[in-house]
């Protein structure tokens, strides 16, 4: 339990650190949202000063940060200047789509890469192993942007899937199952890109950790005792090999979120990515900070889940928790 508690404290410190960093950067930033208004001769400097004051931008950094933290604790992340509405509902409406995309990608990635990794490790040096190793090192070395653009080009040219957005224009008229199918078809392309990029990384780790366990003495003795290969792999090897893989889950989240931002923008999936990009281009300060906080929150949440799972499957960590007292 204390292990989870420690992780929780660390997560909170991390979120505080990210937000403080964001505010530090806003202070160092030379430009602002009002720069373009300032060039407009019809808007007087007094109006702009008034606007700045109404958004609280004329106050010192520490005060602003304190106020922001206080309201952030009440799930209010500030006010979007460009959209002229509170940031939180705006972000949440988009974050749902990002969550849908990334969790589907995560589940699918693990469904693909665990069996593939175990199989490759089991037949070490075989055709499949070599193919997996080669393909994964190729996919890893190709930038995600290129993979996304390449697959998009194929899909658009062959008209296999609908591209852009999340549902068709006539989606309102469809029945519930047809609606779901429509969303799934729209999600297919970004999902494939993400799963491809993530699987390439995870399959290697799964393979490596299975290989490591396969070489352990107790596995050899189990083999000597005549345990069948299937039982050996799934009863004796996989639970042990899962450990490093589960802690990898936490780490892979950061990559997944970054990848998702990129893929969303390229494929036109209405998630956080396009929103944040737009906010970046229009310098919508609180929206950008809110978006970063959302992504950090996802990260932290995912890491905590990974930690809980790790505690559940690994008795050594529970023991370590006891030892810490």
């Amino acid at each position: 339990m204390s292990y989870i508690l420690r992780k929780l404290v660390r997560a909170i410190v991390l979120l505080a650190g990210v937000s403080a960093l964001c505010f530090l950067f806003t202070e160092m930033a030379p430009g602002s949202f009002f720069d373009e208004m300032r060039l407009n001769p019809q808007i007087s400097p007094e109006t702009i000063a008034g606007l700045r004051a109404s958004y609280g931008l004329d106050q010192p950094l520490a005060l602003r940060y304190g106020r922001w933290v206080k309201s952030a604790l009440r799930a209010d992340l500030g006010y979007s200047i460009a959209y002229n509405m509170p940031v939180t509902p705006l972000l949440w409406s988009r974050a749902k789509n990002t969550l849908l995309l990334t969790t589907s990608a995560l589940v699918l990635t693990w469904l693909v890469s665990v069996p593939l990794g175990v199989w490759a490790a089991n037949r070490r040096g075989g055709v499949l192993d070599k193919a997996v190793t080669l393909a994964s090192s190729f996919v890893i070395s190709v930038p995600e942007l290129v993979i996304a653009i390449g697959l998009l080009a194929l899909v658009v040219r062959w008209r296999i899937l609908p591209v852009g957005g999340m549902m068709s224009a006539d989606s309102e008229t469809l029945s519930m199952p047809a609606k779901l199918q429509d969303v799934a078809r729209h999600m297919a392309l970004p999902l494939v890109v993400l799963v491809l990029c993530e699987t390439a990384i995870i399959v290697r780790h799964v393979r490596a950790s299975v290989l490591e366990v396969l070489g352990a003495p107790y596995i050899q003795s189990a083999r000597g005792l005549g345990v069948s290969q299937g039982r050996l792999l799934f009863r004796h090897v996989l639970p042990i090999a899962a450990n490093p893989a589960i802690s990898l889950l936490g780490f892979s989240l950061a990559g997944l979120l970054s990848g998702s931002l990129l893929v969303e923008v390229v494929c036109g999936w209405p998630g956080l990515g396009p929103l944040i990009l737009e906010a970046t281009l229009s310098r919508d300060l609180y929206l950008v900070i809110g978006g970063i906080m959302f992504s950090a929150l996802f990260m932290v949440g995912g890491n905590l889940i990974a930690d809980v799972v790790l505690v559940a499957v690994d008795p050594r960590i529970r023991k370590e928790g006891v030892d810490a007292h």
């Binding site: 950067f25 090192s137 070395s141 080009a153 658009v156 591209v163 970046t280 970063i292 992504s295 932290v300």
Partner: protein, 342 residues
């Protein structure tokens, strides 16, 4: 293994040489527009005409069809041949930033034009833009890598060598940077910096931001090496003889870090090139009309362009080639480093 490294290094050196001398290998100025040649497909090189085979390839001028069902496509005009010549005089360009030259590797006599990879929306030669854009993208990747390694190893050395609360504070910050989704972070930092700047300032800003965000991993690795080498017997002995911190770091500890840094450098360069390309693709990096692989690719955000003008994918292919070469080299270095340390 040896030959593999040699082949990879030669290929990479060739690639960088071509990019470095982009002005020589490119027949045209990358920002000169030819409005009447918008989206022209790659010029086809012919070896054969009505009078038989030729040793030297030649091209035909092509013009856009204005009417009929082929409207908008390009048609070759077979009335005049333009032989491809080598070492021709063309527009004046700067080589290596210091040397003015007007010699180009190849070209055709005017008014003919040779577009090896076609043209973009403004009729700019894609091949010339590919080379000059590559110059910027790759240079940004390398510069950002240097920044990351300098900063990261400085932090790693301080944390690993001095330990204590300095170590703890630095590694806490380290964890913060490691656990952030870098692209969100990159966008966030970029959001707070001015959007439209001169090319040179954008370049420094981009490399600075990309480089400084990535310091965490190398710092962690360097710290590990320093930590383990700090207590080696010969280091302790040297300290016993009264060696200063600076001497110990320079003479005994830095050499151990070197192999690690080299591997990290080869690993980071393609990633940072991709980071620059991504930012420019988003419109947050190098601005038009100056070319970079990223802003060349950003026209493909329109699906119609993506489908109709396949040659505009050239920067993506160049990026793939660069990344694969670098990654292959990194893999070799990495396995070598591992076999050394065990």
């Amino acid at each position: 293994m040896r030959t593999k490294v040699a082949v990879l290094i030669v290929l990479l050196a060739g690639l960088h040489l071509v990019l470095l001398l982009a002005g020589f290998f490119a027949p045209y100025d990358p920002i000169v527009q030819n409005r009447e040649q918008s989206y022209a497909p790659p010029t086809r090189l012919h070896f054969r005409d009505g009078s038989g085979w030729h040793l030297r390839p030649f091209a035909y001028a092509s013009t856009v069809v204005l009417e009929g069902d082929q409207e908008g496509s390009y048609q070759e005009d077979h009335s005049r041949e333009y032989t491809v010549r080598f070492f021709v005089t063309g527009p004046r360009v700067e080589l290596l930033g210091i040397y003015q030259s007007s010699v180009h590797l190849f070209g055709v006599d005017g008014p003919g034009r040779i577009f090896l990879l076609g043209t973009d929306a403004y009729g700019r030669d894609e091949w010339s833009r590919l080379l000059c854009g590559g110059q910027i993208s790759v240079a940004a990747g390398i510069a950002a890598t240097l920044i990351t390694l300098l900063f990261g190893s400085a932090v790693g050395i301080v944390a690993g060598y001095y330990g204590g609360w300095i170590d703890e504070a630095l590694m806490g910050a380290n964890e913060l940077f490691l656990s952030l989704p870098w692209l969100y972070f990159l966008l966030g930092v970029r959001a707070f910096l001015p959007l439209h700047l001169s090319t040179l300032r954008t370049f420094f800003l981009l490399t600075g931001v990309i480089g400084l965000i990535g310091w965490a991993r190398p710092a962690r690795l360097v710290r590990g090496v320093v930590l383990s080498s700090r207590n080696r017997n010969y280091v302790l002995a040297a300290r016993g003889f009264g060696a200063s911190d600076f001497y110990l770091l320079r003479r005994h500890i830095l050499p151990e870090v070197f192999g690690l840094l080299l591997t990290q450098a080869v690993l980071l360069v393609p990633r940072y090139i991709a980071a620059e390309v991504t930012l420019s693709f988003f419109g947050l990096g190098v601005n038009e009309p100056v070319a970079s692989w990223g802003n060349m690719l950003s026209t493909l955000q329109q699906y119609s362009v993506l489908v109709s003008y396949g040659w505009l994918l050239a920067p993506a292919c160049a990026l793939v080639v660069t990344s694969v070469l670098y990654s292959a080299l990194a893999e070799v270095f990495h396995s070598r480093l591992k076999s050394h340390s065990t």
